[in-house]
Symmetry: C2
Subunit: 186 residues, 2 copies
DNA sequence: ACGGTAAGTCTACAACCGTATACATAGGAG
DNA sequence: CTCCTATGTATACGGTTGTAGACTTACCGT
């Protein structure tokens, strides 16, 4: 935000956090510098360290926020697989610009410290959310497999940019994905 | 190789290439420097540039090599899904140290230039290989989905380090994965 | 034996990184 | 109004990165 902001600690902290979500999701932990994040938030680079300790501290809070209050899937077991598949295809559409926590994970996982933070966040929030809507997967590893399929699809379609997935018919794609989730969420 | 190698262009080039495969697969394109790669190959850093142009040139050749001559899956359609599932679980076992092209992809995809090189390599070699053993997937996007599932599983189990997938029973895991591949490779 | 060339190294540079320290100022409390 | 502190900036430093250019040396053909 270039418009001069009044001195407001909470607001600038929030602006830095939002800029961090954007930047880390688009470029990954190692792909962006604190100077660029600060510039996007309209502040000086050192404010990142003042409010979040250091770059890693900001990343940890970005993960925490990005993994929580996210699109909550309907808890209806009858349509769960179909709903996940439809949302996945829609949110990874070629013209969509979705800041998904899966993109955050995919683009930052190569850094080992970041991977550890991501693992904790995923298990605490995302995987736990799968257990909420599909309790029968507890202890089977199938909840983690659901996340694997989602992450893999996001990787191929939006990070790698598979031309096969770009050309594929979206309805057929959603149908196939739905059958995959039906295997994992019976 | 610390032992003084005789001056042999082909051998040193191969040593650098192998060091590059190791390094890029373990740390990703942005996670390793040319100095470290050269040191692992027992040569000076500038030889990387002499033989491969620059870091990106080495990465491109690493992708090319890593995506080809790899474990060739049996072409038997009857056991294909089961074979892929079994190989996947085995090669991602917690104590396994497998330099898979999927790890190369997962750890380097955050870099945009690297992602483009990876996409080309995948479509040229890996995806084409799926078409060879399962021609019925051509044009459906299901071959790309097979790669998505494999990549997603490798990500969760070896890059992120999901504790749920570490604790899960390997036979049950292989069975579930097999049913996923049966959906994609009918 | 010996020179030419391929093979390899050394040094250096400009750019960038994360962050510590010192400094400036807005704005509310008294 | 005045001062104190929270808020924000400027500068700088040590380290690392990719790679360009000049330099050395081993080896092979003659």
């Amino acid at each position: 935000m270039a418009t001069a902001r009044r001195r407001d600690a909470a607001a600038t902290r929030a602006a830095i956090l939002q800029a961090g979500i954007d930047a880390f999701t688009r470029h990954g932990f190692d792909g962006i510098g604190v100077r660029e994040i600060a510039q996007a938030a309209g502040v000086s680079a050192m404010l990142v360290n003042r409010y979040f300790g250091n770059k890693e501290g900001l990343f940890a809070e970005v993960v925490e926020v990005s993994m929580t209050d996210r699109t909550v899937l309907t808890g209806d077991p009858a349509t769960l697989a179909r709903d996940i598949a439809a949302a996945l295809v829609r949110r990874t559409a070629p013209d969509a610009d979705d800041l998904s926590p899966f993109l955050l994970m995919l683009r930052s996982a190569s850094n080992q410290r970041a991977a550890e933070i991501l693992r904790a966040g995923i298990e605490k929030h995302v995987e736990a959310h799968v257990y909420d809507v599909a309790p029968q997967t507890r202890g089977t590893g199938r909840a983690a497999l659901v996340l694997s399929v989602i992450a893999g699809f996001w990787l191929q379609r939006k990070v790698i940019g598979s031309t096969a997935l770009e050309a594929a018919d979206e309805e057929e794609l959603a149908g196939t994905l739905r059958r995959l989730f039906e295997v994992l969420l019976p």
